[in-house]
């Protein structure tokens, strides 16, 4: 009897401590899965479908989702053009020209205000990984040595990169 009482007390403590476990903010509020960064580019082996690429590039550029119907129609545009890279380039150019909604791109002043942060954020935003030191240095030089290099053009190059076609 005494053992049963002890057992019940133990179970109650376990139940209370389970209920008190703190949820992660993103799990409870946004219901989003935690995204793990890739350790390197070589960890991505699967090619995105045209629809996946459209959905992801739109979300990356506008920070909102494209409707399923629009993803389908944009995918048809890529299918209808022989040079898929050219098709993607034209679609990105079209998105960059959008007035409603506007693409969410840091201002050039913000980019130049903290170049390292911009580079790291851009790699994480588009390629879901951190840049290597060599990559950081390359883009640091690009931005520093070219006063007219804009965040938009850098975003464009990431969205059109081959690595961005894979996950």
């Amino acid at each position: 009897m005494k053992n049963a009482y002890k057992y019940l007390v133990f179970l109650s403590i376990c139940a209370v401590s389970y209920q008190c476990k703190k949820d992660k903010l993103e799990d409870t509020i946004f219901e989003l899965n935690e995204v793990k960064l890739y350790p390197s580019a070589s960890a991505k082996l699967k090619e995105k479908t045209e629809s996946q690429w459209i959905a992801v590039v739109y979300t990356n550029l506008f920070q909102q989702a494209l409707s399923a119907g629009d993803i389908y129609r944009a995918g048809q545009c890529i299918t209808s053009i022989g040079d898929k890279e050219l098709a993607r380039e034209v679609i990105i150019s079209n998105f960059m020209n959008s007035t409603s909604p506007l693409p969410v791109i840091p201002s050039d002043a913000d980019m130049r205000g903290n170049i390292d942060k911009f580079i790291s954020d851009t790699y994480e935003r588009f390629l879901i990984r951190r840049p290597t030191e060599g990559e950081k240095q390359y883009f640091r030089n690009e931005i520093t040595n070219n006063p007219t290099r804009s965040a938009e053009i850098i975003y464009f190059s990431f969205a059109l990169s081959n690595e961005y076609l894979f996950y």
């Binding site: 580019a41 070589s42 991505k44 082996l45 090619e47 629009d70 129609r73 944009a74 048809q76 545009c77 299918t79 209808s80 053009i81 022989g82 040079d83 898929k84 890279e85 050219l86 098709a87 380039e89 034209v90 679609i91 150019s93 079209n94 960059m96 020209n97 959008s98 290597t132 990559e135 390359y138 883009f139 690009e142 070219n146 007219t148 290099r149 804009s150 053009i153 850098i154 464009f156 190059s157 990431f158 059109l160 990169s161 081959n162 690595e163 076609l165 894979f166």
Partner: protein, 454 residues
């Protein structure tokens, strides 16, 4: 030792400097062995399954409807392809034209039908009975029994032969398709590991590229400055691609390898097309539906790029599965579109006038016997494609260096009849890579250029 190394390096450098100028854009070292017969070829995949009875046999309703419904008014013969074939039109029961009940034939555009300008191979053996298999067989010069739908052709297409062995650039080779269905967007290159996308053709499916979808996602593309904006963008892209090169070097990416200059030309062309569409000035044959529109955009491509090879897919007559009246109208309208195209090339595209060879051949024929479906308008019987009659098609050829000759291959189909897959080697022969194609081992064993059969 140092002297020896110096001599070795100096020799290699000199050899490289001598060879480099001869490396073609495709990476090929030498130019093709053959000589060009003409610098331009237009190959029309003429419709989705055509019976010889209604085309080159000019039997109109007599062996399609009268045989099964011996009403005297249906015993009518005649030519419903006045731009392509010589022969008198049907004199009664005219339903293949435009206007009320289709009773007004479209006036011919060409004063001399293409048959009277060139050569008709009347009985040609179609080696596949379906649209996808039949169409890509024309491009591959062969057929693959294991070829599924919705998958790239298994062996190289004429586009890849031309680019790999002939050194043609991407904008020299074009495929203009009429639909996204029936695997049509897969025609522009094979999935073969030694050929594939990097040797593929440029392609538009104009009804989509310049249709509502294109209006939404392509039309308003921002115009970037080629040197100040696009060039650095490409430079950064190439840097990013370098770190991923080991994973994409095996030709996995579906990109046909246009140069930056070619891409710029294509983007400018697309912008112009959207402007012309808005202004209602895109080239278009006066009559016809989607096939006419496809032919019109193909002419726009020819006018801009003057391609070595332009392949056009039309398939309006495939409505024959369920509506024979519409099938007749679609054949007649496609003939009108081809007449318009041939006339336009000769009169409006100076670089291609008198320098182009035209080839038209169907992907497959159609059955001898009808299916049970009657169309509402005339109670005509419809036809599918699967029996021996499906093997009967034709090939029509005209243009530079092709003089008018009496019809060829006029007897019944036999083991020595031309194949519709001869279209591929004929294009290769015209553009100077016949030997390279024959020695590739990918062609049908009986493949022979139709020009060698003249």
């Amino acid at each position: 030792m140092k002297r020896r190394e110096f001599i070795k390096k100096a020799t290699l450098t000199s050899a490289g400097a001598m060879i480099a100028p001869y490396i073609l854009p495709s990476g090929r070292l030498f130019a093709p062995t053959g000589t060009q017969i003409a610098p331009h070829v237009v190959l029309v995949m003429y419709a989705g399954g055509l019976r010889n009875q209604e085309t080159v046999d000019q039997l109109y309703l007599s062996q399609s409807q009268y045989t099964w419904n011996p009403t005297p008014s249906l015993n009518v013969t005649g030519n419903i392809m006045p731009n392509m074939l010589s022969g008198a039109a049907p004199t009664s029961k005219v339903v293949y034209g435009v206007g009320t009940s289709g009773n007004t034939p479209i006036s011919p555009i060409l004063s001399t039908p293409i048959q009277s300008q060139g050569v008709l191979f009347k009985e040609v053996n179609a080696i596949a009975a379906g649209h996808y298999g039949g169409s890509i067989a024309l491009l591959q010069g062969n057929t693959n029994l294991a070829q599924p739908l919705l998958e790239r052709p298994k062996t190289p297409t004429i586009f890849e032969f031309l680019r790999k062995h002939g050194g043609y650039k991407a904008t020299d080779t074009w495929f203009i398709g009429n639909t996204l269905t029936n695997s049509v967007p897969l025609y522009n290159h094979s999935g073969h590991k030694d050929y594939g996308a990097k040797y593929g053709a440029n392609m538009f499916i104009p009804g989509v590229t310049f249709g509502n979808q294109g209006d939404q996602f392509l039309k308003d593309a921002k115009i970037y400055h080629p040197q100040n904006e696009l060039s650095p963008m490409y430079k950064m892209k190439y840097f990013l691609d370098n770190s991923y090169e080991n994973l994409t070097s095996n030709n996995v990416l579906d990109t046909v390898g246009n140069t930056e200059a070619e891409k710029q030309q294509i983007k400018n062309f697309m912008r112009t097309m959207f402007q012309k569409k808005q202004a209602g000035t895109v080239i278009r044959p006066p009559q016809g539906g989607n096939d006419a529109s496809t032919v019109g955009y193909a002419l726009e491509v020819m006018k801009e790029f003057k391609p070595a090879v332009t392949v056009i897919k039309i398939d309006g007559p495939d409505v024959c599965h369920s509506n024979f009246t519409s099938y007749l109208r679609a054949i007649h309208a496609a003939d009108h579109a081809i007449g318009y195209m041939w006339n336009y090339i000769q009169t409006q595209i100076p670089d291609m006038a008198n320098e182009t060879i035209f080839i038209a051949t169907p992907d497959c024929g159609r059955n001898l016997n009808p299916n049970p479906i009657l169309d509402r308008e005339n109670n005509f019987r419809a036809f599918d494609h699967s029996d021996a009659n499906t093997r009967r098609v034709f090939t029509l050829m005209a243009g530079k260096s092709i003089t008018n000759e009496p019809d060829k291959a006029t007897g019944p189909l036999s083991s020595t009849s031309p194949l519709n897959t001869d279209a591929a080697i004929t294009v290769g022969h015209i553009l100077g890579i016949e030997q390279e194609m024959l020695s590739s081992g990918f062609l049908h064993s009986q493949s022979q250029s139709l020009i060698r059969k003249l």
